[in-house]
Structures are given as structure tokens and as C-alpha cells.
């Protein structure tokens, strides 16, 4: 028996046809992606010397992108796994939109490391000569396991809906029908299948929650395990993690608002969802401020020479404009918007979320570059300088375009709102007494 959802037709509507506007958008995004690919080829031929990186600035915007995209990827796991464990049923309509962000930002996060290597084939050195003393090996283990687990978690919860596409979308091209047949794995909506699926997703949610913490902590340890000023602090793990969840949740707000508008999903993605996310974002923004103060106060109070060079650079030196803009974008402006304007105003929510993500990218930049410019062995290395060069800018734009392209293409071939999870009635409900979230739009208020 197929799940009964009053919004099935509405959710499946975007999957039925690809419009000219879609092709145009995909074309533009593909062109940006190819431009980035061209820039990468240029960098491969000429070497990393054509980038802004130099001695002692060995890490630039590629590593900024790496940390940012991995952070963005925490959105899906947070919404799907952590809120699943907490029994927050209101999250159901937005799980897939959030998980898709995870799925499509992770390749660009992991890919940024490969781009930064200059020669991509050097990635195999990690496998052939990997030494587990090195934090980069911890990172490779955590990120690859997270990527694999995210794909499986995403795919498993998609299977019932793919089966619905297979059964209902008879007017789509033959190859698309064939794709649904293969990916549905013979799903026949039996109660036992749903029971097993829920069981596995619940178990995986616990595992994914642990992975989320591990992954971003390990990412932060790439910095924290060095003795460089601004990095060598035990706070860097939780600080990175909180920032990741903040930017990820803000990204979910942006994605939901765009999907709602583009695919006319106003009834499914109701304002109540945005209000719930608003409350979460207020908590995360305040948590982020706490971590900022804790980290900078600890460093500033000790007044260690090398640390103070970096801190002064951030507060009142070369990077002061970026630092204070970042603080306004991540904390000041969004908090005011969430408290005074955000409630029931999706436009304001999106504006604040865009600011948060711009601010979080700047935060990753401000964590990396000032330390690289003024390393601990300043007397040996000398004061450095860094400005991203053209290939780095083109590749960064291409990464964002690529992520957006994959996301938009996905939404045209698969339902972006989980039909079975938001169904008023499905065979698995016999095993689960969870109320249907889609049927109660105001529940989260």
C-alpha cells in the first residue's frame, strides 16, 4: 500500500517536466563550472605559483572553501539525524532539502583539498604512504566515512519516494522511468519494509550524529594540532562545529525558501517550519558569540607575543574590516532580524541566512589567513601577505556554481520533500505513532 499524502501531486509536480528556464539556469551554472575547470587546468599546467599563495602563506581560499563546504554539509545531518533522535517530527518536510545540501556540498569540500594539492594524483600518496600520526589522515578517514554514510542515509530515505515516482510518473522519458526502476530496488511499500527502514534510519541517526561531531572536530584539528598562533587551542573543535551547524542551518533556510517559491510548495513548506528554524538559529548565533568571546578573550588575556600579532591584525590591523564585518554578518544583524523581523517573514529570514553564510565564509578566511601571514616563526619566515589570485576566485565561484547545479538538477528528477515521511498515513505507521508533520502546519509555533 502506497503512503497516503494529500500533497503527493504538489510534491511530484516539479519532477514531471523540465522547463526552458531550468535549462537556461543549468547552462549558466555549467558555464561557470567549466570556467573553474579551465582555471584548474591552468593551475595544473603552471603550478600553484599562479595562485596568491606564497611563503609563508601555504593555505588560501581553497582551504577556506574546504572548511566552509564541510561546515555547510552539516545541515542535512543536523536536521535529519539530530532532530530525528530528539523526536522533532516537524523536521520531516525539510529533511531531504537539508540532506541534499550535505550531499552536494561535501564533494566540493573534499575536492578543495585536492585542488589545493596542485597535483591531484598526490591524493594516492595518502593511501600508499599514509602515516596515522598526521591529522590529514584522520581527516581523510572522517570525511570519506561521512561522505559515504551521508549518501547511504540520503538514499535509504529516498527509496520509497523513488518507488512512488516509478509507479506514478508514467509520462516521463523512458530513461527516467528506467532510472526509477533501478534505484527503487523493487520497493513495494510493504509494512515490513517501512518498519525496517525506520529502524535502520534511527540507528544511523545516532551514528551520523557522532560522525558530525567527529568530522568537524577533526577538520579543526588540521589547524589545532599545529603550534601556530590563533589555532593551537582546545576550543577550536567546538568552535568549528558550532559554526558549521550555524551555517548549515542558515543554508537550509535559503534552500527551503527558494524551493517554496520556485515549485509552489507554500502549503508543504509552511511558515511554521521557518519559525522553528528561526528559534534554532537564534540559539546557534548566541552560541557562536559565546565561542568567539571565549576564544579571543583567552588568547588576549595571556598576551603571548606571537598570539598578539595575529589578534591585533584581526582586531585593528589588516584584517579588521573583514573581522568586524564578519561579526556583524554572523551575529549582530541576523540576531536583530530574527528577534524583531524574522517571525512569519520568510524574506527577512532568507536575508539574515545569506548574511550568516557570507559571514561564516569570512570567518573561515579570518581563521586561516592572518595566522598564515604571521606564523609562529616570524623571525625565520618573515611577515607574509596574501590576496587570492584569479584562478582561485574562478575555482571558488565554480565550486558554488557546481553545488547549486547539482542541487537544482536533483530537484527536477526526485521529490525534494519526502512524500512518505510527511504522509498522513503509510504502512509503517502501524509501527510508529509519530503524528504527521505536514498535516499540522502550525505545530511548530
Amino acid at each position: 500500500m502506497e503512503p497516503k499524502n494529500q500533497y503527493t501531486q504538489k510534491i511530484l509536480a516539479p519532477v514531471r517536466r523540465v522547463s526552458t528556464g531550468d535549462y537556461l539556469l543549468w547552462g549558466v551554472l555549467l558555464a561557470l563550472l567549466l570556467t573553474g575547470l579551465g582555471a584548474w587546468t591552468w593551475q595544473f599546467i603552471e603550478g600553484l605559483g599562479i595562485t596568491g599563495m606564497n611563503r609563508p602563506v601555504y593555505w588560501g581560499v581553497y582551504i577556506t572553501n574546504f572548511v566552509f563546504f564541510i561546515g555547510l554539509a552539516h545541515s542535512g545531518t543536523f536536521i535529519s539525524a539530530i532532530l530525528r533522535i530528539a523526536g522533532q517530527s516537524w523536521r520531516a518536510p525539510l529533511t531531504r532539502a537539508a540532506e541534499a545540501i550535505t550531499l552536494f556540498s561535501l564533494p566540493f569540500g573534499a575536492g578543495s583539498i585536492i585542488i589545493d594539492m596542485g597535483h591531484p594524483e598526490r591524493i594516492f600518496n595518502l593511501l600508499f604512504y599514509g602515516r596515522y600520526q598526521s591529522p590529514i589522515m584522520w581527516d581523510v578517514t572522517a570525511v570519506s566515512l561521512y561522505m559515504l554514510s551521508s549518501i547511504v542515509f540520503f538514499y535509504l530515505s529516498l527509496i520509497p519516494d523513488i518507488a512512488m515516482c516509478r509507479d506514478r510518473l508514467t509520462d516521463v522519458p523512458h530513461w527516467q522511468r528506467r532510472m526509477y526502476e533501478i534505484l527503487a530496488l523493487g520497493w513495494n511499500h510493504s509494512p515490513e519494509q517501512y518498519h525496517r527502514l525506520e529502524k535502520v534510519l534511527d540507528g544511523m541517526a545516532v551514528f551520523m550524529t557522532m560522525l558530525v561531531v567527529t568530522v568537524h572536530t577533526v577538520v579543526s584539528w588540521l589547524f589545532g594540532m599545529t603550534v601556530q598562533p590563533g589555532w593551537h587551542t582546545a576550543l577550536i573543535g567546538p568552535f568549528f562545529l558550532l559554526g558549521a551547524i550555524l551555517s548549515g542551518t542558515a543554508a537550509v533556510v535559503i534552500a527551503l525558501a527558494l524551493l517554496r517559491k520556485a515549485y509552489h510548495l507554500e502549503k508543504v513548506l509552511h511558515p511554521g517550519l521557518f519559525n522553528s528554524l528561526r528559534k534554532l538559529l537564534i540559539t546557534f548565533v548566541l552560541g557562536w558569540l559565546y565561542m568567539m568571546i571565549a576564544e579571543h578573550l583567552t588568547i588576549g588575556y595571556s598576551s603571548m607575543t606571537e598570539e598578539m600579532v595575529v589578534l591585533t591584525d584581526k582586531f585593528s590591523g589588516t584584517y579588521a574590516t573583514i573581522f568586524w564585518s564578519m561579526t556583524a554578518f554572523v551575529f549582530g544583524i541576523p540576531l536583530l532580524i530574527f528577534i524583531f523581523k524574522g517571525k512569519n517573514h520568510i524574506g527577512w529570514m532568507v536575508f539574515a541566512s545569506v548574511l550568516i553564510n557570507i559571514g561564516m565564509w569570512m570567518e573561515r578566511y579570518i581563521v586561516i589567513i592572518p595566522t598564515e601571514v604571521s606564523p609562529r616563526m616570524l623571525h625565520v619566515m618573515g611577515q607574509g601577505s596574501y590576496l587570492p589570485a584569479l584562478p582561485e576566485i574562478l575555482i571558488t565561484i565554480a565550486c558554488f556554481a557546481g553545488m547549486f547545479l547539482l542541487y537544482t538538477v536533483f530537484t527536477r528528477f526526485f521529490p525534494i520533500v519526502p512524500i512518505w515521511e510527511t504522509a498522513q498515513e503509510h504502512p509503517g505507521h502501524a509501527h510508529s505513532a509519530e503524528p504527521s508533520p505536514a498535516s499540522s502546519p502550525a505545530a511548530s509555533d
Binding site: 604512504y129 589522515m137 570519506s144
Partner: protein
Amino acid sequence: MDIGGVVHAFFDNAGPGGVFVLLVVGGACTLYYFLTRWIVAGGKQNEPTNPEEQPVSMDA
């Protein structure tokens, strides 16, 4: 057996780290494959039995 020596060798030598990564990812792939199979197999319990596979009635 010198366990300390083994641990030391694992962290200190070039090579075991890569093998460990492959083992973790490979192990996860295997686990996820069997979990997916187990979930989907739940549907076979409800499928109508093929008439050709029905046992011959003893009433005859």
C-alpha cells in the same frame, strides 16, 4: 606480544594509515550494502506466493 611496539609501528610507519582508511571505508560499504538488502528484503515477505511454488495438496 609487544602491543606497544605494534601501536608505535602503526602510527610511525608510512603505509598502515592508508590501509586503515581503506579498511574503515570498505567495512562501512559492506555494512551498508547488507543493511540495504535487509530493508528491501522486507517486501518479499508480503509478496503473493507464486502458484507454481505452491505445495501439492495432500487432499488429492
